[in-house]
Each structure stands twice: as C-alpha cells, then as structure tokens.
Amino acid sequence: MTAPSASTAPSFAPRDNYLTADYSWRSWLLTVDHKRIGILYLLSVTGFFFLGGLFAVLLRLELATPQGDLVQAETYNKLFTMHGLVMIFFFLVPSIPGVLGNFFVPIMIGAKDMAFPRLNLLSWYVYMIGGLVSFLAIITGGVDTGWTFYAPYSSTYANSNVALTAVGVFITGFSSILTGLNIIVTVHKMRAPGMTWFRMPLFVWAHYATSVIMVLGTPVLAITILLLALERLFHIGIFDPKLGGDPVLFQHLFWFYSHPAVYIMILPAMGVISELVAAFSRKRIFGYSFVAFSSLAIAVLGFLVWGHHMFLSGQSVYAGVVFSVLSFLVAIPSAVKVFNWSATLYKGSVQLSTPMMYVIGFLGLFTIGGLTGLFLACLGLDVHVHDTYFVVAHFHYIMVGGAVMAFLGGIHYWWPKMFGKMYPEGLGKVSAVVIFIGFNLTFFPQFLLGYLGMPRRYHAYPEEFGVLNVLSSAGASILGIGYLLPMAYLLWSLRYGAEAEQNPWGAKGLEWEKAPTPPPTFNFDATPVVTQEAYAYADDLPPEESRTQARLV
C-alpha cells in the first residue's frame, strides 16, 4: 500500500485497486469490501430484472388480444404475481441501495468501509438464499395470489406455492434490514473528519432516509408473511372470517410496510438524481437543505398513509378521510424536490450526456407518476379508478419511469469510477431515447384504459379495450429491446471501453476528487479531511465570479 499519493493528475498507471486486489473466486464470494458486495448485488439484481422482464413480456403478449389465448388463466395469474414479486422484492427494493448505495455511501462520507462489513456480505447471501427459495417456488409451480397475498384467497383458497414464496420473501426481507441497518450506523458513526451532516451529498441523505424506512417497515411485512405461512401450513385461523378473523387486518399489516416500500424504491432514485443534476449543471443543488429534509419528511410521512390502498376494502369512511389528507401531504416533499431539481438547472452549465438524459426522462415521468398519485389519493376518484389499469399505469410511471431510469442514469454516471472504463456515449444516448419512447407507448394508454374501467389482473377483457392494449403491448416490445441495449454495451465497455480518468465529469464529491479510479480496497490512500460544502462548484470559479453569490428574488 505504498502507492504514490493520489495527485490530481489522471493516473493511468495500473494501480492496485479493489478489482485487481485478488482474482480468486474465494476473494469475491467471501469479500467484506463494500465495493465488491456492490458488484455482487449488481450481477444478481440484473439477473432478477431480466427474469421479471421476461414475465412482463409474456403478460403484454397475452394482453395484446382481448381473448385469453396465449396462456391459460391460471398461468396468466401466476405470471403477473411473479412479475410483481420478482420486480419489487428482488429488483426495485435492493437495486440502488444494494449496488450504488453499498459502493458509494462509504466513499462519499470518507469512510474505509461500511460499519459492519461482514453483515453487509451476509445481506447479499440472505438476498440470494431468499431469491433461491422464491425461484424454487416459481419453478415448482409458481404462486397465483398477486404480490399482495390478500387473505382469505392466499390463506385458504389458493392452491399454489404460497407458503414457499412467503418463506422466500420473508428471508429476503432480512437482507433489506441488514443493508438499512448498515447504512444508518455508517452514516452516523463513520463520517470523515469535517464531513458534517450538511456537507454530506444528497445521495447519502436519501439512502439514510431509505434505511430508516427499511428498518422500521420490513419487520411488519416479515410478521405478516409469517402469519400467512402459519395459516397456510397449520390453519391457525388468524385471518379466517368464519372465526371472526378480519381479512382487512391482513391488508392493514401488509400495507403498513408495502406503502413505505414504494418510498424505499423511489428515495434512492431521488438521491441519484440529485447527484446527477448537480454534476451535469456544475452547480450546487438549489435549496440543498430543503431537498435533504424532504427525504426525511417522505420517510416519516410515508408511514402514515397506507390506508389509501384500502379506501374501498371495507375500511371505515372516517379513517379513509384521514389517510386521504395525509396522502396529499406526503406528495408535497416530492413536489419540492422536483421544483428544486428544475431550479438547479437555472443559470447552470448543463452537459447533456447519457446520465443527464436519464435525469430529464426521470423528471418528466416522475412528475406524471406523482401527479397521477393524487387521483388515487382523492377519495371521490379512487372509488372509480381503484384496482383498474389507472393504478397499474401510476405505479409503473413511478417505478419504471422513475426508479429504473434513475438506476440506469446512476450506473452510467458511476460506471467509470466503478470499473475504470467509459461507456460508449452515442449508444448510451440512443438507448435512453428508445427506453423513453417504449416506456411512454407502453404505459400512457393504460391511464385511458384505467378510467375506461378495465380492471387489473384480467386475463381476458372486453373487445372495446383492444386497441389501447395493442398499443401498450407494442410499446412493451420497444421497451424490452431498449433495456437490452445498455446491458450489451456496458458489458462490452468492460473490455473495450476507453480508459476512464479519475474524474471524467469534473464532478465534486469525495468519490471523484479524493478516491482514485477504480478505488483501492480501502477507498483512500489517506483518510480525507473535508473542508468544502457539498457540491462546492463555486470554489473552482475564478475569484471575481464566485463572489457574485446571487440570491434569487
């Protein structure tokens, strides 16, 4: 470890880094290096994404025709259930925190590693074991209850692998808890000297808020899934209406986790967008503290709104009113973030490279996704649009238009730092546009289908919904192709990509300025001392320009 201290000059000489430290299988499978664990997560998360994507393609092919003629009803029900389960529990929840969070949170705050490196590796193994059990459940017949497992269908009437899938999801929940726990302790206890809370990048704030949700919400899902498994295996009657059990109680316990879970999926994406907007407009994020606190506000308010999934389920009308007003409040911090990102571009120096295209795509689609959420939080409208394709379109705009776009943007942005190779810019831009077009063609018609009254999870539908479904299926094939492109050229870049400098984007942040590309096993040659504010682009300006700190209106 006597490498020359990292001078600002780009160091092309091959240095000892976390990739070249050891090539053996053992060093990868037993690593405690948070960066290698991030790569392990990247591989497994991508695998599950394409498994879930395969189910999605089959769903859209089936729905291209009104009659259910591609697959049986039973198979279709299994397809949409497994699409939901795989995409949510095995891609959206673990992807950004597991890959980018694991890799960059320690570096961004100047730490050598996560607080509990071995727990971090355990988190990946628990994730893979949960994935294996769920994959076993899929192979040996699948599960057809919907990813929501509503009782009493899931507990009494379904005859598919509900218990086995429940165990799989139960195990995977602990992986999420371990990641969350690790990030919380790391952010609290392992910040470098000078790295105060308000000098931390917003990416770390977002992951801190996400980890709080993971730690507080996941256990309630665990106990709900455990009760469901006990009911399936031993018929203890906990949700059985004949004994006085209440299926709505299952929904309360389930959604207590599952709504905050959607914030687990979107908050890290917001963290990525904050980084990218700042880096590609070479400006500090507008209203930094507001964006930081809105992450925490979303985390807390996110736990008070789950009842908007149950307005029509027999939940009391007055509880519905309370959940509705709180659901409108939780929308405000998200709006604040979008306005602040847009304001950051004002008077910036915007570079439209691939990550920035994903950011612009995110801002548009997340805004539409967020606003359509207001339709569902509004009691009067939810009566009509609940459980229709309007809901399906809403959460796909947030999850696919938001979280997946941000994930791809983040992967492209940090690819040089993670692997020391640049991705091909031209192909990057093309695939971003293809994904944007394919996405909108797939999901915008579903808003219309939703208000027309086409219910969710329908294997066959009336003729008049046919044309919109054909459009949606056409879009899905474009989107499918769009996702294959980055997979291809990113793998290609690992071998043939241009060598990356230490700071190809000229961005601020410890991971760009202090850590070499790709970083050594302990991230820094010497523990960095932080003296600048976050996103201190102003410090690089010639003296006279940096003095004109304009405070708007």
């Binding site: 609290h188 709080v212 507080l216 309630v220 709505v248 109680l249 309360h252 316990l253 207590f256 736990f303 008070l304 789950w306 009842g307 149950m310 939940q315 009391s316 009308v317 007055y318 509880a319 309370v322 959940f323």
Partner: protein
C-alpha cells in the same frame, strides 16, 4: 484513551450494583402489582392501569438494565423511534376499527327520521 472510557462507564460500578438490585426489586414488585391490579375491578380503568405498570417496568429495564440512561443521544432516539412507530401502527389501525360504525351507511334508523 479507551481504558479511561471503560472506567468512566463503570464509575457508577459501585453504585451500579446497588442500583441494579434496586431495579430488580422494583421489577419484582411491579410484577406482583400487575397481578394484584388484575384481580381487582377498576371499571374502565383496568387496561390503562395494567399498561401503565407494564410501561414503567419496561422503562426501568430500558433505562437501567439496557444502559440507555448513559448512552449517546442517537441511541436514545433509536429506542424512542421504535416505540413511536409501533404506536403509529396501533393508532392508525385502531382508527379504522373504532370508527367503522360511526356512519350509518345503512338506510337511516327508523326512529330518527
């Protein structure tokens, strides 16, 4: 530097043992009180009293046995947040169950029309 910390931590060591005995005794008294209270009828106050006793016992265990009293502020917050979100889960779930029959969603009762 760490050695001094351990000493500081256990400087109440001498007092600690007496303190632990006191807390232990208090918990046993609390258990007896719980059983005694359950045997008598306080009408609508039964559950609140039982919960109050259980909470004080829990607080004793938390503060003294689990050293929260001498822990850093962030540990205080962690302990508090766990119970706050448990209360949120209970409160909002019960807000549904307790207000289910407020609204006469059936045709209004005959006598009041």
């Amino acid at each position: 530097m760490s050695a001094t910390h351990d000493a500081a931590h256990s400087d109440h060591g001498g007092a600690g043992l007496k303190l632990y005995f006191a807390v232990f005794a208090a918990l046993l008294v609390g258990t007896w009180l719980t059983v005694w209270v359950a045997g008598r009828d306080f009408g609508v106050w039964n559950t609140p009293i039982a919960l109050a006793i259980a909470c004080t016992k829990a607080a004793l265990v938390l503060l003294y046995f689990m050293h929260v009293r001498w822990s850093s502020r962030v540990v205080w917050m962690a302990a508090a947040i766990g119970f706050v979100f448990l209360v949120i889960l209970l409160a909002f779930t019960l807000s549904d169950y307790f207000t289910r029959d407020w609204l006469e969603i059936y045709s209004a009762p005959l006598k009041s029309r």
